[in-house]
């Protein structure tokens, strides 16, 4: 993989701040965009913009065709059928769609939902909120190293368990959960298996048939696509039975005062004017990724993670969260300066061991190194490790060993400025 050449496709990397290039290590939050995606958006608005569906004139017909072609492209990318692809705004909306729709005609008081301690808030709050309707939510434990505890999953699965919703790849720990195995366990219990694919679909080949998950949600902006577009995949037979979520224009066959007939999936779930621009941008992003090959993306990130791990070994007071085994984790590295301890003592400022992640990020930023610091929308996980926050560096196709080296220099600077070690 020729990262230098890939970087040339991304206009933002031409930018210099204080004479230095940007080292962008926050793709877990959102990715940068290649010109192929940016130009596709421009091209659409300059040539084909029109509202889709039910328009008889040529622009509208073409716009509809582009929108549905994007859907096909997305479907192919994860080995689904186009009718199983619902366009949403982002992963968060996809998961909320499920929680609301299930509440409408599937969940009953006393039913149980299982999630885990490593979930992003977006796969946490929508389910926990259902407690308001007397639906139980339980949390699958994780091990100290950051693996999902499969025994705990098995113990907590019971007759009441209607849904199990888990992240494929953790956005903090990098852990790759064994969704193929989990899918079998969950289905043996006749529960529905929802996958939060926000951190997997962009980074590794995902085949919904192989996983045999019932749903998977992901965000366009985390895979080179524009903001404002995301995807919810669902098995057609289940989508068909589900209650609509948002309602309004486009998602109906007929509307009368006393009778509303909804469209079939996926339109049933796409109320109002859709984001055609977003779908096209996402489709262009998928083309870009397919061109590289998702196996190569995964290999590249594995290699970089391995390289970074070796470099970081140098500093024995740094603790890295999540699996040590690069086969079982993605290119997300959360760490703290804390004498190598995962758990952090209170009264932090009383020692010269800990550095607040926001200070780490602030100092790295002064070197144009962009990492994220904070709870990464995974506060329950922070609670588990009894930490206020971590610093997180994450990799994508435009990062290379040089970026890791620059990060290491940045970390040295942090140590110097903060006078630790």
């Amino acid at each position: 993989m020729d990262v230098k050449k890939i970087r040339e496709d991304f206009p933002i990397f031409r930018k210099m701040i204080n004479g230095k290039r940007i080292v962008y290590l926050d793709s877990t939050a959102t990715t940068q965009k290649p010109y192929q995606v940016i130009e596709k958006i421009k091209e659409f608005y300059e040539n084909y913009n029109a509202n889709v569906h039910r328009g008889i004139y040529s622009l509208s017909e073409y716009s509809t065709e582009l929108y549905e072609k994007s859907r096909e492209n997305v479907a192919g990318f994860i080995n689904a059928h186009p009718e199983e692809i619902v366009f949403v705004r982002n992963t968060t909306e996809g998961l909320n769609l499920l929680s609301y729709s299930f509440l409408w005609n599937f969940l009953k008081p006393g039913d149980k939902i299982l999630i885990s301690m490593m979930e992003h808030h977006s796969n946490f709050i929508p389910w926990v909120r259902l407690k308001h309707f007397n639906i139980d939510v339980d949390f699958i434990n994780i091990t100290e190293e950051g693996y999902l505890d499969l025994e705990d999953l098995k113990n907590k699965l019971d007759k009441r368990t209607k849904i199990v919703s888990l992240s494929h790849v953790s956005n903090v720990l990098g852990t790759i959960n064994d969704v193929n195995e989990i899918s079998k366990i969950v289905h043996d219990n006749n529960s529905i298996f929802v996958v939060d694919g926000a951190q997997s679909v962009p980074h590794t080949p995902v085949d919904v048939k192989k996983i045999d998950c019932d749903f998977i949600a992901f965000s366009g902006h985390k895979m080179l696509g524009p903001m404002g577009i995301g995807v919810l995949y669902g098995k057609y037979d289940i989508l068909k039975e589900m209650a609509p979520f948002l309602s309004g224009g486009e998602m109906i066959k007929e509307v009368h005062i006393n009778n509303i007939i909804y469209e079939d999936p996926p339109l049933k779930f796409e109320a109002g004017t859709p984001n055609v621009e977003g779908s096209l941008g996402l489709s262009a992003a998928i083309d870009y990724l397919k061109n590289i090959g998702m196996e190569n993306v995964r290999d590249h990130e594995k290699r970089l993670t391995d390289y970074a791990f070796k470099k970081m070994d140098e500093f024995d007071d740094i603790v890295i969260y999540g699996p040590k085994n690069v086969e079982k984790r993605g290119g997300v590295i959360s760490f703290n300066f804390n004498n190598g301890n995962r758990y952090i003592e209170k009264e932090l400022i009383k020692n010269d061991i800990f550095v607040h992640p926001h200070d780490v990020a602030g100092i790295l930023d002064s070197e144009n190194i962009m990492v994220r610091s904070g709870h990464h929308c995974a506060e329950p996980l922070m609670d588990f490790y009894r930490i206020p926050a971590t610093t997180r560096a994450s990799f994508y196709i435009y990062n290379d060993e040089e970026d890791v080296d620059i990060l290491m220099d940045g970390i040295k600077k942090v140590r110097k400025v903060m006078k630790i070690g």
């Binding site: 209170k346 009264e347 932090l348 400022i349 010269d352 607040h356 926001h358 200070d359 602030g362 904070g374 709870h375 506060e379 206020p388 926050a389 400025v417 903060m418 006078k419």
Partner: protein, 118 residues
């Protein structure tokens, strides 16, 4: 920067005060929490201490606040705006880090406001 770090590592006014007005608040941006203890005599600040956890900026700011405000008149502090306060600090900050710096100042203001109400 060195100065900020050294203040951060050994803030002089870190600690608690008995029989003082106190309030604890967190920075919504990060969840870091600081508790401020303030004693007032004749409308003047006589003592300030603080505890809590936070980033360099928040602790540095809390220390600066306590050093600067002791001896000041309550009304003088009340009349300070966020911008005024930030100008007192020897650093320039991005909007997010301004929130860190303003945490202790906000707590101070809220303590004074509560006193006014009672």
């Amino acid at each position: 920067m060195d100065y900020i770090i050294s203040v951060y590592r050994k803030p002089k006014n870190y600690g608690k005060l008995e029989n003082a007005h106190s309030k604890s608040e967190s920075n919504p941006f990060c969840g870091d929490r600081i508790e401020l203890f303030v004693k007032i005599e004749n409308e003047k600040i006589s003592e300030i201490k603080f505890t809590g956890e936070g980033c360099t900026i928040s602790i540095f700011s809390a220390e600066m606040l306590s050093e600067n405000f002791i001896g000041k008149n309550v009304n003088e502090i009340k009349s300070l705006s966020d911008e005024d306060y930030l100008k007192l600090l020897p650093i320039s900050l991005t909007p997010t880090r301004q929130k860190c710096a303003l945490l202790s100042f906000r707590i101070m203001k809220n303590i004074l406001r509560d006193l006014e109400k009672n």
